[in-house]
């Protein structure tokens, strides 16, 4: 169970330009839940994920993962509990390493790395089996450098890397935003498959309302660093994109939909 309790994040505190990215946000996620988080730019979606991952320490509030208070753990200390796929496919994989080296690196996420050889024939067989599931033919290119792959292939690989070993929470940060529509839906289907197969507790940030409605078991809308709307279960399955847009406008006190057209996709 993941628990965020009254998290506030303030950038540039004490200066005239001080920005409140998260404003006393509380959220609890039970095991196996798949939450999609939506909201406009600057709503605090990415900050929320960064707080969970450890990139940003909140100014106040606590982050608790399975009864362990990790609020002040730096990113590398939380790595065993948190796995993540970034928006940019170049961030989630290491271009100058080969596919098998990337996989070996990810197998040790959050573990002590000893002085044993990173690769073995046993591990390679395991990697090949995992890569085969992607259906991209990467299983025959184990020794190839990752910077030879396309953006979509790299993102699919990042997804696999992030799920190679167990994590308490799986974070997806607009992970299809940089991909073309075809690759984007491929990566989303893969995401759903991996999440359900491995029973991952997932938080996905997305700009696509369609994605947010189609995938996951619960929907959370952020604005101004706060949760303005939440929906799950049967109520959620009846929601439409138009409902979300009007919800979004009413939370802002806006009547016109014009300014929110960008949200529709």
């Amino acid at each position: 169970m993941i628990e965020l309790s009254s998290i506030s994040v303030r950038f540039g505190a004490g200066t005239p330009l001080s920005v409140c990215a998260l404003d006393g946000l509380s959220l609890s996620v039970s095991r196996g839940e798949f939450i999609s988080v939506i909201g406009s730019n600057g709503a605090g979606k990415s900050t929320l994920l960064s707080c969970l991952a450890g990139d940003i320490a909140p100014s106040s509030g606590r982050v608790i993962i399975d009864d362990l208070d990790v609020t002040h753990f730096p990113t590398e200390r939380r790595a065993g509990m948190v796995s993540r796929v970034f928006q940019d496919p170049l961030t989630g994989t290491c271009g100058s390493l080969t596919i098998e080296e990337n996989m070996a690196l990810s197998m040790d996420r959050g573990r002590r790395r000893g002085l044993g050889l990173a690769l073995s024939s046993h591990k390679r067989a395991h990697f090949r089996a995992e890569l085969r599931r992607l259906g991209l033919g990467l299983e025959d290119r184990l020794g190839e450098r990752v910077d030879r792959l396309s953006g979509g292939q790299r993102q699919a690989l990042s997804l696999l890397l992030a799920t190679l070993c167990e994590a308490r929470v799986f974070l997806l940060d607009e992970h299809t935003a940089a991909l073309d529509p075809r690759m984007s839906s491929f990566v989303m289907d893969l995401t759903e498959r991996l999440v359900s197969e491995r029973g991952l507790t997932t938080i996905m940030v997305t700009h696509s309302l369609v994605q947010a409605l189609r995938y996951g078991s619960r929907l959370v809308m952020l604005d101004g660093g706060r949760i303005v709307f939440e929906s799950s279960g049967a109520e959620r399955s009846r929601l439409t994109v138009e409902d979300l847009v009007s919800r979004f406008s009413s939370s802002r006190g806006e009547l016109s939909l014009d300014s929110d057209e960008l949200l529709l996709s």
Binding site: G95, E101, R113, G116, L117
Partner: protein
């Protein structure tokens, strides 16, 4: 080229191969342009030189001087990493600061600008006696092999993989639980330790230490790394480490040939010019496609 010149070039080639591996580690693996090496090479030389003159003779003393030099270089690397990681000083600047401070420290260690070891036992004497011109090169080859095997192995381990990810993609490394901070400290320490070891070996080989020995070490190292890379085009990490030695030996042979070829009219004082020219050429070569055409011709 005479046999003596050839042996000398090999000897220095293997020695500077160790420097090149150190530079490869900071520049290529950690993406950290580290000029500390200009200070840690003479640091190793100073430590070994002083130890040998002060009567630490014999086989044990010789080996001990190498270890101590390695350790001193490691500390120098830690200093640069500390300035950069703890206080956020730009990597290049942090390394220049350490390098500058090391100049004074080296003078303090030696007590004078240079030391001559006339009849002291060096590491070369601790190897089996072969009355050959190639004893120096063989001893240096031994150390080069040692460094090659150790580093190629280390970079293939699980820990080594974390090192390589740190330089190539720090965000990903962090998200995989690699402590970027710790890896940077350790990496720069190892890099400078190796360069200081080479400095100490230089003293054992040439029987003198001088405070100005470090001038341009970074360029010598880079020359070897870059020319090695453009010739070998390494595909894996083991070949990448090997290419440092290939580059260093080749570079020394080219320099020795250029200085020996009378028709070219070079003098020993032209060395820096030749080095700069060679590095520039090695950097330009891949753009002109020289490396590829050369390899294609070699394959025929």
């Amino acid at each position: 080229m005479s046999a003596i010149a050839f042996a000398g070039a090999l000897e220095l080639g293997f020695l500077y191969g160790i420097v090149a591996v150190g530079v490869f580690l900071s520049f290529r693996i950690f993406n950290f342009p580290d000029l500390t090496v200009d200070g840690s090479f003479p640091l190793g030389a100073a430590v070994a030189g002083v130890l040998l003159v002060s009567g630490w003779g014999g086989v044990l003393g010789a080996w001990f001087s190498l270890f101590l030099a390695l350790f001193a270089g490691f500390l120098a690397g830690l200093t640069t990493a500390w300035l950069n990681q703890r206080f956020g000083i730009l990597h290049l600047l942090a390394s220049i600061l350490t390098m500058m401070a090391l100049y004074s420290i080296n003078l303090r260690i030696m007590g004078r600008p240079n030391i001559a070891l006339l009849s002291k036992d060096t590491i070369v004497e601790s190897f089996p006696d072969i009355a050959s011109l190639y004893k120096g090169p063989i001893v240096m080859l031994f150390f080069a092999l040692l460094v090659f095997v150790a580093l190629a192995y280390f970079l293939s381990t699980r820990q080594g993989l974390g090192f390589r990810a740190t330089g190539a993609n720090p965000r990903m490394a962090l998200s995989m639980g690699v402590s970027v901070r710790r890896c940077t400290y350790l990496g720069l320490g190892i890099s400078n330790g190796l360069v200081a070891l080479a400095g100490a070996l230089f003293v054992h080989l040439n029987r003198f230490a001088d405070v100005t020995l470090g001038f341009g070490v970074i360029i010598l190292g880079l020359a070897a790394v870059i020319s090695g890379e453009s010739l070998v085009r390494p595909r894996g990490i083991i070949l990448a480490v090997l290419s440092c030695f290939v580059g260093a030996v080749l570079y020394r042979l080219v320099i020795a040939w250029a200085l020996n070829a009378d028709f070219l009219g070079f003098r020993a004082s032209d060395l820096n010019f030749l080095t700069a020219l060679l590095v520039a050429l090695a950097l330009i070569a891949p753009r002109l496609g020289l490396g590829t055409s050369l390899r294609a011709r070699l394959k025929k």
